[in-house]
Subunit: 296 residues, 2 copies
């Protein structure tokens, strides 16, 4: 048995979490710091791993990054954060900087694909070979594992921008997405909730109509993900999902909307075990980044 | 070099097409007959392959079947057509009957996954590792290839039943799907067109408003498939797609709906080569079944 460890970076738009270890029961060290400039932020990550490798050999690093990012093998900008509005980060060679500084293999994916991989490897989807990890928070995004592998395809999935049924008579809110108005993220993200109801989600905790509508949009999106990709499990995370009312409402609405068409016991009888919270709690992203390092 | 051939069955709800060969340039024989009872229909397929194997060794058979079907490895009803309303076919052990009669390996998948595999192997998506094959005809269904493999997941994708935006003021038609009313299939299949406009699609060929609306729903569905699964190519087949007006309308509407968000040259600049007709013409299904036999 080797004493090698893997590094994981959960690279969010607000904060970075870096960890070293080999899995959920063996995280040797962890640090977190705000996302500022690329120089400072990537510099702090590098410093953390430099310090750690004095204690144990560092085999590889996995990064689950906010985006959009370039995942196309062979692309001149592979491993870059590309067109993000986040100041200073557009066209940043994230992977190149890590490789140059640390001289180890670097695996790179979206933050949500890393979280999906973490849940698939060690969490709520560990007994499946396909799953979706959907986060509903400041933004909405989904990571997709199919046949045990993260899905990239043309770019990477952007499930937050699916276009959903929107009954303007029942919900006249025009949506908050600067690109699409009332796409999924435009209707159901944390900022959309705040804009529609005039208060942040935390202050709306007990208001039934808020969560009925929120569950309705999440259920519409899940129906489309089920019909498009047929995942074996759906893991829902993110800040908005912290409201306990949501899971039962979403499950019931998914069943109602599908109306018996998808004849799987997972949906018809055991939906409590089909649409679930993260098995790794808030650690899906950083552990998924470690899984990415091992898997790559 | 061996003289072995592979058998393919394009098992549709209306007709079966059986072929033997090794690829699009080497189809040795082909036959077609209406889908009647399982006994008669599977019997005719078996008789065709029995006759063919007198000329060349039959290595395996691939089946792309109408559904719903059971694709779960290890399931007691693996290889069955399950809950179809088609008279006589519910709970038919399709794979078991073929194996018993022909004593060769049988690979089994949905009709649309087989067509997607055919297009991925030899057709319009042969330079990709992920694609969607969407058929718009009597029904609407999609086959999905990700990382070179057909996607099954929980059951199999049922993209015809995604729930789309439906502006009842602009299109008061309530939809034709017995399960969901105005899901994608309920709004845009051949029977839905006929119900909404009172005439079949062939008789509506020159009516611009018909095809604008049809292209709108297909574009909404493609946006959701792009956001959910990020395919590297989208192949559109089926009877309704035979109208030449549709492709340019669909491509433009997909660009408009995505509004620059998915920053891929395939969508922004070369959408004519991204959303395309089948490279194998009407042969995607039967050749895909042969590919399935080889691949399995």
């Amino acid at each position: 048995m080797t004493d090698e460890v893997y590094g994981g970076i959960e690279a969010g738009g607000t904060k970075f979490v870096c960890a070293v270890g080999t899995g959920p029961d063996d995280v040797r060290a962890e640090t977190r710091f705000p996302t500022t400039t690329p120089d400072e932020t990537i510099g702090r990550a590098v410093a953390f791993f430099e310090e750690q490798r004095q204690h144990w050999p560092l085999a590889a690093i996995g990064v689950g990054a906010f985006g959009p990012i370039d995942l196309r093998p062979g692309s001149a900008t592979y491993g870059f954060v590309t067109s993000t509005p986040k100041p200073g980060w557009a066209n940043t060679d994230f992977v190149g900087r890590l490789r140059a500084a640390l001289a180890v293999p670097v695996a790179f994916d979206t933050d949500v694909n890393a979280a999906a991989l973490g849940e698939h490897r060690w969490g709520a989807a560990r007994d499946t070979d396909s799953c979706v990890y959907l986060t509903v928070g400041t933004g909405i995004g989904a990571g997709l594992i199919v046949n045990g592998q993260p899905v990239h395809g043309l770019v990477h999935p952007e499930a937050g921008h699916m276009l959903l049924r929107h009954d303007l008579a029942a919900d006249p809110f025009p949506g908050a997405c600067p690109f699409h108005g009332d796409c999924f993220e435009g209707l159901a993200s944390g900022p959309a909730l705040k804009q529609r109801w005039g208060r942040p989600a935390e202050e709306l905790a007990g208001v039934d109509s808020v969560w009925q509508l929120e569950a309705h949009y999440i259920a519409l999106a899940l129906v489309n993900l089920i019909c498009a990709a047929s995942p074996q499990r759906i893991v829902l995370g993110g800040g908005v999902m912290q409201n306990d009312l949501l899971f039962p409402l979403i499950r019931r609405k998914v069943q109602t909307l599908l109306n018996g068409y998808v004849q799987s016991p997972a949906i018809l009888q055991a939906i409590d075990r089909y649409i679930v919270p993260p098995g790794l709690g808030s650690r899906s992203g950083r552990l998924g980044a470690i899984a990415l390092a091992q898997w790559a």
